[in-house]
């Protein structure tokens, strides 16, 4: 049974110093929202003992072709990663 995927998103490509939970290798990559996971306290504030906002967390699905480009051994394989809303921006399908 095929799963229904949601909007296309691009992970923000910024590289601020400090603690963030967004994997470096996914920054700037496009994927599709697999499902929303609900709000969680922002780890970027928790890490510094700050009062933390709640941020929606999404599971996003990326193709190996998107992650590795021409080096992908199995371009159609996918990887799911959980990424906070403030790291995602809407984009067109690749």
């Amino acid at each position: 049974m095929a799963e229904t995927l949601h909007n296309w998103v691009r992970v923000r490509a910024m590289m601020p110093p400090g603690h963030v939970r967004t994997p470096s290798y996914l920054r700037g990559k496009r994927g599709q929202v697999e499902r929303p996971l609900g709000p969680f306290h922002n780890p970027e504030q928790l890490a510094y003992r700050l009062k933390a906002d709640q941020q929606p967390l999404y599971r996003v699905r990326f193709s190996m072709a998107e992650v590795w480009g021409k080096d992908a051994e199995n371009p159609g394989d996918t990887l799911d990663a959980e990424i906070y809303a403030h790291w995602l921006e809407p984009c067109d399908a690749p």
Binding site: G18, H19, P23, S24, Y25, P43, E44, L46, A47, Y48, R49
Partner: protein, 101 residues
Amino acid sequence: MGGQNAGKIPLEGHDFALWEKRVDALMVLCSSKGYFTVDGLRRVLEDMGEDSFETMTYYERWVAAINQNMVEAGAYSLHELGTKMAEITARAETYGEASGG
């Protein structure tokens, strides 16, 4: 993934030293008391820099991260920490003897 070559992964398990188990217990105790979250530990581990992953063991990095978070949370001062460390060091040469004192 997305990182650097790290050589072979040792797959055989190993037992933990007493002090390592105590570091684990300290982490559970201090985080359950609300002094820090796992995010605070991760932040300090990352701030230690890449070299620390070569020069320190897993639990050495952990205890350093716990300590940094406890100091930042105001659980104890550096002066209190230094005084206690000197007191324990003066007790005996080895960890076993010093912790039994």
